[in-house]
């Protein structure tokens, strides 16, 4: 879909900052900068991956083993089958995918009506933004009491609905900005050309915000996939998402670092794969935001 770039109504190519290239000295400085930055950000990931394929004897040695001389995959089978990693993947997937999908539908419509019809004046949209500032622990006790009164603690439904309380505001808030940037003329022209509101939305609005939708959905998915505080409060061992499982693995007297690293790698993998598949949209969707805030 390379054509979306050319078809985008947004000004393109302005947001990309020109790299500062101050001759040879500048180049050297930026190479060193990038190298230091890469080590700083990538080393923890490397350490996770390398630990996940080390045998137990190499987990905590001093000096540490940077490059193991053979790959030890037992950690992964342990993580997936002994520690419930497989079920964790399924539970995380069900919860994160459901919350993201429902959130995208409701949040996108909410965003559109906030942007175009100024539903609730400025107060409602500010209220929606304020929901995102609320720390989950602040509502921990009432939330737990609420779900236990319904008898739904430790169920998919509880987690999904609970995740929607921040997923919908997040999506609504981000997409509202994109809708506001889209010229109203386009939809109005569809209306006079014979389209209903819904038809104009589907035919004209959605195709023009597709990269933004994809980027927003991915961010929402990552938040849901990584969510920890609510998962801990609402889980009793039946619905176990990966962020819930990880800390339980550190409770034994002998911490199995290789198994934990393997579990973490398993948890990171889906996000990496999705981001890789969607990177084309992602860069464009995220750079819309950059243009807007100029």
């Amino acid at each position: 879909m390379t054509s979306t770039a050319a078809h985008s109504p947004f000004p393109s190519g302005r947001a990309v900052p020109t790299p500062v290239t101050g001759g040879r000295g500048g180049l050297l400085a930026s190479v060193v900068g990038v190298a230091v930055g890469s080590v700083f950000f990538l080393f923890p990931i490397y350490w996770m991956l390398v630990t996940s394929v080390k045998p137990p004897s190499e987990w905590l040695t001093s000096p540490p083993v940077f490059i193991p001389d053979r790959l030890y995959f037992q950690n992964y089978t342990d993580a997936l089958f002994n520690w419930g990693g497989l079920k964790g993947l399924v539970d995380s997937g069900v919860v994160a995918v459901s919350a993201t999908a429902i959130g995208m539908v409701l949040g996108t419509f909410a965003a559109y009506s906030l942007a175009r019809f100024r539903i609730g004046g400025t107060n409602l949209s500010f209220f929606i933004l304020s929901l995102l500032f609320m720390p989950p622990v602040a509502i921990g006790i009432p939330m737990f009491l609420f779900w236990s009164a319904l008898g739904l603690v430790d169920t998919y439904i509880a987690l999904i609905v609970q995740y929607l309380t921040f997923t919908i505001p997040f999506i609504a808030w981000v997409m509202k900005g994109f809708f506001e940037d889209l010229p109203v003329d386009l939809e109005e022209s569809a209306l006079v050309n014979g389209a209903s509101r819904l038809r104009a939305f589907v035919d004209i609005v959605l195709p023009n915000v597709r990269p933004a939708l994809v980027a927003t959905a991915l961010l929402a998915f990552i938040f849901n996939w990584n969510e920890f505080s609510i998962a801990v409060l609402l889980s009793r061992g039946r619905v176990t998402t990966l962020p819930f499982i990880l800390p339980t693995m550190m409770e034994s007297h002998y911490v199995l670092w290789g198994d934990i690293a393997a579990m973490a790698a398993v948890g990171a993998l889906p996000v990496v794969i999705i981001a890789f598949l969607l990177q084309r949209y992602l860069v464009r969707g995220l750079s819309f935001g950059a243009i807007r805030s100029e």
Binding site: H7, D185, L186, E188, A190, L191, N193, D203, I204, P207
Partner: protein, 364 residues
């Protein structure tokens, strides 16, 4: 096609009355130009007719149907938006065909009609291009094609010429005029440029602050402006408006203007005789003033303050006592700054308005 009637339309945005008690009838097949400065309510009027804006009060009729409460899609009007509003994700072909697609016209008929209007507007070679890859003038034609393809009862064009460069402007004026006459389409064109209006329109409605100042043919508004606002807005350079007073001379009732007594026509005299106040405003178009090297009866001595040659004409500013007068002259007639001449303001070229800052109404 249809006759359009607007009855007492009003629309406010908070404290701003964008359109005030506007009534208007546009006969079938007529091109009406809504002309006025920015912010005078032209776009709002157009949007009310299109159904994109709800009137606070008043009615809109197409022939014998009241359409004031209909959804935009049920009004069957073709609109060309000021920025063209082409759909960025669609090709030229899909843009033009969209109104038919939405209304469920089958593909083969759609294709045929897209080809037909594209040929009419000479954009048939662009059909498979993306709308960003064509020039502004071509985009305008695409927008026009999309507005006419559904054979609407009424066309609404918001500032169709304004985004074009000078060369394209006069071509497009002629093109819109040609198309409108060929289709026999009742059309409302919005413009802030009086040249658009004079060149295209059968009828011109001049708006200011949401109120129509005058509705008439191009000749009406040019030769018989209904107040000083219209007098100033139509015509370039602007009409000279001079403070004057009624005064009886040897030859009967006339006006004192620029320190001189001038005679007036018989019709003007009758109208002026009915005026109670002595003060009036005299208007005279820069083209209507004659320049003479010799003095004579009813000629006013003046010196050249500024000479601006513009190729096909020269625009002079003359100094007469404390007043300035703009005169448009043939290029052959060259005067130097400071030169002394005599100006003739012929009785039949004078307009008379009641005094008042802006909008003093016409007396004669």
């Amino acid at each position: 096609m249809a006759r359009v009637t607007l009855k007492h339309l009003s629309r406010s945005f908070g404290p701003v009355a964008a359109v005030r008690d506007l009534s208007l009838e546009i006969p079938d097949g007529t091109l009406l130009c809504l002309l006025g400065p920015s912010g005078s309510g032209k776009t709002t009027t157009l949007r009310l007719v299109a159904g994109l804006e709800r009137p606070d009060s008043g009615e809109i009729w197409l022939d014998d149907d009241e359409i004031s409460r209909l959804e935009p899609k049920d009004r069957h009007v073709g609109v060309m938006f000021q920025g063209y509003a082409l759909y960025p994700q669609m090709s030229v072909r899909d843009n033009i065909g969209y109104p038919l697609k939405v209304r469920g016209v089958p593909r083969t008929e759609r294709e045929a009609r897209v080809t037909e209007v594209a040929r009419l507007l000479e954009i048939d070679s662009l059909l498979d291009r993306a709308v960003q890859q064509i020039s502004g003038g071509q985009q305008q034609r695409v927008a026009l094609a999309r507005a006419i393809i559904q054979r609407p009862r009424l066309f609404l064009l918001d500032e169709p010429i304004s985004n074009l460069d000078a060369v394209l402007r006069s071509t497009m004026r002629a093109e819109i005029r040609r198309l409108q006459k060929m289709l026999g389409a009742t059309t409302i064109v919005v413009s802030h440029d009086q040249l658009d209006a004079l060149a295209m329109a059968d009828l011109i409605a001049i708006m200011k602050d949401g109120v129509i100042q005058q509705l008439g043919t191009p000749d009406d508004v040019y030769y018989r402006p209904s107040n000083t606002f219209v007098a100033r807005f139509i015509g370039e350079p602007q009409m000279n408006l001079l403070p004057a007073s009624l005064a009886r001379g040897e030859r009967g009732l006339g006006v004192r203007v620029l320190g001189h007594w001038l005679p007036v026509t018989e019709t003007a005299r009758t109208a002026l005789a009915a005026v109670t106040l002595p003060d009036v405003v005299v208007g005279v178009r820069p083209r209507a003033i004659r320049i003479h090297r010799e003095g004579g009866d009813d000629r006013i001595a003046a010196s050249v303050y500024l000479a601006a040659p513009e190729g096909s004409r020269v625009i002079y500013q003359f100094q007469i006592g404390g007043d300035r007068l703009t005169v448009e002259a043939e290029p052959e007639f060259r005067l130097n700054e400071g030169e002394e001449v005599h100006l003739e303001l012929r009785p039949e070229s004078l307009h008379f308005f009641a005094p008042g800052a802006d909008g003093g109404t016409r007396i004669a």
